[in-house]
């Protein structure tokens, strides 16, 4: 059984202008021990998708349909109190975007991490602090610095402390939302190394959300490409890069420069990502797609199995027939 199984999830934000269809029919399975990369541009709904798994959506976000099965239990039917006590942070945790601002500046870093343990488990303060020290050395911070305040940490250390915080209660599943976006290259490489080491050491199951294909290529085992609220392609990491099938995946890989290749002209994707208040009909990529056919603006393409765990949603793969 997959650790996480999302079925036809729809999450909309109500606004004065109507519903923003941020997540609109997402299916996804994550097996134990996997690291899945969820890749997409800003505004494609990847953060909304992740926040809805932890039920952390803002007040105007509402759930329309679908299921989020975590070890077989539907997370959307669990009552708030149980979810708070038994799931959020205890079994499912989150590394928030923007580590620079994610911590409370007036509390010591160690206390903030220990707080999660004290809330979810029956431990004494002393024991919790010992565990925080252990977590610090695990992510490569000097354990004596548990008594520091966030401003005494550098950017890379704050990001590591956020990872330590997500690990506080030994969760089964961790979501990391753009964990390296605000960091410089060398610190980014250091942080990705910490994440890779932790995965090897603790056998973590994780979902990495990012717009950066190169970060996914370096850390994940599988990859889902998201566009305008839907997943357009899903495969193991090697297949996504070597045999991309969806035109958006291909274009995204073409638009992404690599420092290792010879100087070349970068290819951009024409147009801009759609407004999710009123997304294009049919396949949402059709206004920007170089291969668009008549059917693309009329019918939503189905997710088609291409052998193994490779799936893509494109009419080209069925020869244009519905």
């Amino acid at each position: 059984m997959p650790i996480l199984n999302v079925q036809d999830l729809r999450m909309y934000y109500s606004t004065l202008k109507g519903d923003v269809k941020a997540v609109d029919g997402v299916d996804l399975e994550v097996e134990k021990g996997e690291a899945i990369g969820l890749v997409g541009e800003s505004g494609c709904g990847k953060t909304t998708f992740a926040l809805s798994i932890l039920r952390l959506l803002p007040y105007n976000g509402h759930f329309v349909s679908g299921k989020i099965l975590f070890n077989g239990d539907d997370m959307l039917t669990v009552d708030d109190k149980t979810f708070n006590k038994e799931y959020r942070w205890k079994r499912l945790s989150y590394v928030f975007q923007g580590a620079m601002n994610a911590m409370n500046p007036v509390f010591r870093v160690g206390d903030q991490i220990a707080e999660a343990m004290l809330l979810h488990e029956d431990v004494e303060k002393e024991e919790a602090m010992d565990r925080v020290r252990g977590l610090f050395s695990l992510v490569g911070i000097d354990p004596d610095r548990v008594t520091n305040y966030p401003h005494e940490f550098s950017g890379g250390m704050k990001q590591r402390a956020m990872i330590a915080m997500a690990l506080a209660c030994n969760p089964e599943f961790i979501i990391a939302d753009e964990p390296t976006t605000a960091l410089d290259v060398i610190v980014q490489a250091q942080t990705l190394q910490v994440i890779n080491d932790l995965r090897a050491k603790l056998g973590l199951t994780m979902m990495l959300i990012t717009h950066d294909l190169s970060v996914v290529a370096q850390t994940c085992t599988t990859c889902a490409i998201m566009y305008a609220g839907r997943i357009v392609e899903y495969a193991d990491i090697d297949t996504v890069f070597s045999e991309p099938k969806h035109p958006y995946t291909k274009a995204l890989i073409g638009a992404f420069p690599s420092i290792k290749e010879a100087k070349r002209e970068l290819v951009s994707i024409k147009g801009t990502p759609p407004n999710l208040l009123d997304p294009p009909t049919g396949c949402r990529f059709n206004p920007r797609c170089p291969y668009a056919m008549d059917i693309c603006s009329k019918e939503v393409p189905k997710f088609i199995g291409l052998g193994g765990r490779h799936y893509a949603a494109c009419h080209l793969l069925t020869g244009g027939d519905a």
Binding site: V185, Q190, D212, S214, A255, F256, S258, S268, T272
Partner: protein, 333 residues
């Protein structure tokens, strides 16, 4: 002014310095301690040939943006000289500077902050036209605006001309910022991380627009970036900065394929590659960039450098040529 072989030098920077005083507390003013400085740019020299795209790269806080602003005299240099087309522009007055302002332009990083939210696209582009008296009649002004909007592919221009910045997407805003710059026919452009705020799928398109409109006119670019992968694909030459100094300067192939300075080596190894088959990016060095207020003595990189010796602690290495056009500041090359 130094000469580059066989090429006309558009911009030459010699030993440029920009120090910012650190604000003192009231008490330390009374005890009259010496003023401390953030040495954001501390002795930077380079030449850019006409029509060249030159990358200035480094981590945040290394002084690359300050260098860009100082050489346009948007910040007054603390020391050193800037030569533009052979003319020393370091000490010239405001009036003389005005004409140069048209010829030397900048595109800022954040199109959400660089456009006045109360002005329409028309007014934003019309402002430099009127300041520099580039057109005589309203019809001429409009024609210039239409043409510049077409150049940045905001078509049809009628649809965009009356809009306010909040009615545009990030990519469209940055195009307006580029149109505002290009309408003046500048000869030299500092592009300060022009794509870092934009979506991945539209970055390449925007770069193409920015560079294409300059290519025909032989515009020279200083491309400031932290993203070495983009620099690799669009720039001819580049310099790597660390704590206010240039540590290595070469053509892009030399920087990417044959980095010599230990910092450049570490930087190149840390850039992630969008290909799962290729060896993973590695952090060769630990720690982070120290504060530029009291930078390390000698070579500023020595506390983090795997090759550091006593000499590095004592003496500052000079930028020396190792191989044709490949400059490195390191004692151990």
């Amino acid at each position: 002014m130094r000469k580059m072989e066989g090429q006309e030098v558009e911009l030459s920077v010699v030993d440029l310095q920009k120090w910012f005083p650190v604000r003192k507390s009231f008490v330390s003013t009374l005890t009259s301690k010496k003023t401390k400085y953030v040495k954001a740019v501390d002795g930077v020299s380079f030449d850019i040939a006409k029509g060249e795209i030159f990358a200035l790269a480094g981590e945040s806080g290394c002084g690359k943006t300050t260098t860009g602003k100082t050489l346009l005299r948007l910040l007054e240099p603390t020391g050193g000289h800037i030569y533009f087309q052979g003319q020393d522009i370091t000490g010239i007055g405001k009036r003389e500077m005005k004409d140069l302002r048209r010829r030397m332009q900048i595109v800022y990083q954040d199109p959400y902050e660089s456009l006045n939210p109360r002005m329409t696209v028309h007014d934003i582009i019309a402002e430099p036209i009127s300041i520099h008296s580039l057109a005589d009649t309203t019809a001429e002004v409009d024609e210039l605006i239409y043409r510049s909007l077409k150049d940045v592919e905001l078509v049809p221009p009628e649809e965009f001309i009356g809009r306010f910045p909040h009615e545009l997407s990030g990519g469209q805003r940055q195009r307006v910022a580029i149109a505002r710059t290009m309408v003046m026919n500048p000869e030299f452009i500092v592009a300060d991380e022009p794509i870092s705020m934009l979506d991945v799928s539209i970055r390449a398109g925007l770069l193409k627009i920015m560079l294409k409109s300059g290519e025909a006119k032989g515009v020279t670019y200083l491309f400031i970036t932290h993203d070495l992968a983009y620099a690799r694909h669009i720039c001819d030459r580049g310099a790597i900065m660390y704590l206010g100094k240039i540590v290595e300067m070469s053509d892009m192939d030399g920087l990417v394929n044959n980095p010599l300075h230990p910092y450049t080596v570490a930087l190149m190894a840390a850039v992630p590659v969008p290909d799962p088959q290729i060896e993973k990016a590695k952090a060769i060095i630990s720690g982070e960039v120290p504060t530029p207020i009291d930078p390390p003595s000698g070579c500023r990189f020595h506390p983090r450098c795997p090759k550091a010796t006593d000499l590095c602690n004592r003496e500052e290495p000079k930028l020396k040529e190792h191989g044709e056009g490949h400059f490195v500041a390191c004692h151990h090359i």
